[in-house]
């Protein structure tokens, strides 16, 4: 039976009525119209659907809405604005760190979780943190450069 869930998404309370085992990904994309997180595999293998729940990067394709409780959800849309982009968003533009951009949500959100706990990571730490995020276009080196660039900027 569908139930009511009050989710805390990007600092706002959002109410949805869905089955408890509904993956968070579809709620974000279809009910809340937040397109950042992408469906890539539905198997928690590629990272395209990454969002941050309670401070940790999670695969929203395998996160059931009923398991979230009161934890804060942050999505790509919520971390910056056009006027005040997150340092990662700015750095990804400056480094032109993508080709198609389908995986980029996962790259930025996984990197954000990394920088939130390790503000000045080494290149090796960045690569290890993204080891489970797949990119097919071969933009890896630009992505790593963008994350290192963002890590050197003052946090806003």
């Amino acid at each position: 039976m569908p139930q009511n869930y009050r989710l805390r998404v990007n600092g706002q309370a959002r109410d949805v009525t869905v089955e408890g085992d509904t993956p968070l990904l579809y709620i974000l994309r279809n009910d809340l119209e937040l397109s950042g997180a992408k469906f890539g595999c539905g198997l928690a293998q590629c990272g395209a659907c990454t969002v941050i729940v309670g401070g940790a990067a999670v695969r929203s394709c395998r996160t059931e809405v009923g398991s979230i409780g009161n934890r804060e959800i942050a999505t790509l849309e919520g971390i910056g604005t056009d006027e005040k982009p997150h340092p990662l968003q700015k750095a990804f533009i400056e480094e032109q760190a993508m080709q198609c951009g389908y995986c980029i949500n996962g790259m930025i959100m996984s990197a954000k979780a990394l920088l939130d706990r390790t503000p000045k990571p080494t290149e090796v730490q960045v690569k290890e943190a993204l080891a489970g995020n797949l990119c097919r276009c071969g933009s890896h080196n630009r992505i790593v450069r963008a994350i290192l660039r963002a890590s050197t900027e003052a946090r806003t």
């Binding site: 469906f39 395209a48 276009c137």
Partner: protein, 741 residues
Amino acid sequence: MNTEITRRDFGVALGGLVIAFSMAPRPAAAAEAGGRLPAMLAANKRLDSWLHVDPVGTMTVHTGRVELGQGNTTALAQIVAEELDLPMIRIRMIPVDTSVSPNEGVTAGSNSIEAGGAALRAAAAEARAILMQHASERLGVPAGELILDDGLIFTRDGSKRTSFWEMAADNPLAKEASGAVAPKPAKDHKIVGQPVQRIDIPDKVMGRPVFIQDMRLPGMVHGRVVRPSNYNAELVRLDDAAVRKMPGVISVVRDGRFVGVVAEREEQAIAARAALAKAAVWRTREPLPDAANVHEFLKSRPDVDTKTVNEKGAAGTAVAKTVEATYRKPYLAHASIGPSCGAAGFVDDNLTVWSHTQGPYPLRGDIAKAAGLPIEKVRVIHTQGSGCYGHNGADDAAFDAALLSLNAGGRIVKLQWMRDDEFGWEPFGSAMTMAARAGLSADGSIVDWQYDLWSCTYNMRPGARDGVNLLASWHLAKPFEHATAQELGLPAGGGDRNAVPVYDFPNQRIVDHFIPDMPLRVSALRTLGGFGNVFALESFMDEVAIAAGADPVAFRLKHLKDERARAVLEAVAGKAGWKPGAKSDGGRGRGVAFTRYETTKSYVALIADVAVDRASGMVRVERVTAAVDAGQAINPDGLKNQIEGGIIQGASWTLKEQVAFDKERITSRDWVGYPILTFPEVPSVDVTVIDRPELPSLGAGEASQGPIAAAIANAIHHALGVRVRDLPFTPDRVKTAIAQG
């Protein structure tokens, strides 16, 4: 029928790109074209089918090229901005829409800039001249006395003025291109040649809806498909009664062995798909060949069509030494991160299809055929998808969505393939065998070159002369046949792409053994046969160089007259600090490789540095140095991005990738079964661009993919003294090669 959707809804849904005018394109027959017009402009002569002046102060550009993630939209916008002296911000690039855009066929073959850019440049140059002439007539001032600045046109003293935007209502571009206006010389370029930032990236980093997967239209519902258990399986039974009662299910569609479901919510469609898959009983009809011997199986097909595609000199030249080797390439997957997606529904009584296809017009034709609709009742609108590296599932997903919509009262159905649909059903790049034999003269020069290749087709796209190349059409109760498999023909080639060496050999013979049979579904994958052929050719050049006791770089230069080819090799050797005769420490090695893509496009030379762990056989590519000459680089950073990406994707193909299958089905159905290179495994890449602004741009998007495989193979040989000739170079293969010495 869904008629409440307005044009505005589409525009909003697709990132604000509204189709704002209704002028129908009138493609002129190519035969009428003047000799000076670029081919694509000759085929679509009306200037207003390419460029439209908007009164609000923007120049709308209709290109027939689609954005595949390669950044061509930005480069094409730069070309238009340059010729019209407009800032980039005034250029509005409209995704291809068969109701308004010029027909440029398929965006493929690294042709967007070389062919599509040439057409837009000529159109924009002529548009500028027409607009200036129009202003001159309006103001009564000779065109030569007018100044153009950011679309404003005025006399020196400012007493008379107008603008592109003010003249929009006069429709000055409603004429055919004449080809009479020369584009700007390269020395005057201010925007072309600059590393302008990609126009699509800000939306992507902010998470705005950009991709077809992000489309949300009023009343839209969600579809999923259930594919047969293997390519030819027959549907014996499908008890769908329980599925029809599942929450949100709107309809279950069964037509022959095509099975799909439409539901209100996406996760409901996914759950219904899983239930339908369990309920379906299939009978396998034709098993797949033995994966371990698939290359021999393909070579032994009875209908193999053998042709000498290139020959020069005389056979039987006296040689002092003969070298021979055979190389193999497995079936490879496109493996886009985002599975294929399509949306379709009836809008204004037309079947409207949104697709990330490479060829909106060819797709439109095949959908019309398969759906039994007149072609003018089908409209295809390109919407970006996940990175595209050739003919993936995009066209098939579009037709899947159309079929489901036709069975759901014309409602707009959006459908994304699941991960296992993508890996199991996309058309793969064909497995190939390449056999080379070279004769060396007493002084160590190649005097005879014999090369044979075996490959299935690399082109089963929609838009073929016969048949319908859409997956679901083959599964209907009244099935369509796929097109006849054909080889494409040099110089671009298909399986034989890049089979003809760029080197100057006095005697050579290139034989293409084309395999019409397709036990696994195949079509275009980045480079087509170029990856296998350049891997073989450039591995073999190293083998022959070693047999001749020569340095691999010097040996290549000795056989190359083309100055631009020599220049990229010399540049990369200089940048990487190549030292002839440098010894390996037994674990590290470096290898070089060169190609000219399609033998007529970009020149690329690479040097790969690898480290091999002898105990495990694990190969790590640490660094790749590259030099590229693509003629005039429209956007040098975009060019570098393509070369870097091709190197990394090519390294992934080389080290890790092969489609796995058993007797029944494709078994590599997820990222565990089909692993690709990950961040910790990616080499650093350093690209040098040899810019030649005075020369035409050359296609570059696929150019680095072939040489990376050979550079890695050559580096492994340098490190270990053993040769690996079967892709991919998995640890087991490398260990076996070491053991065999």
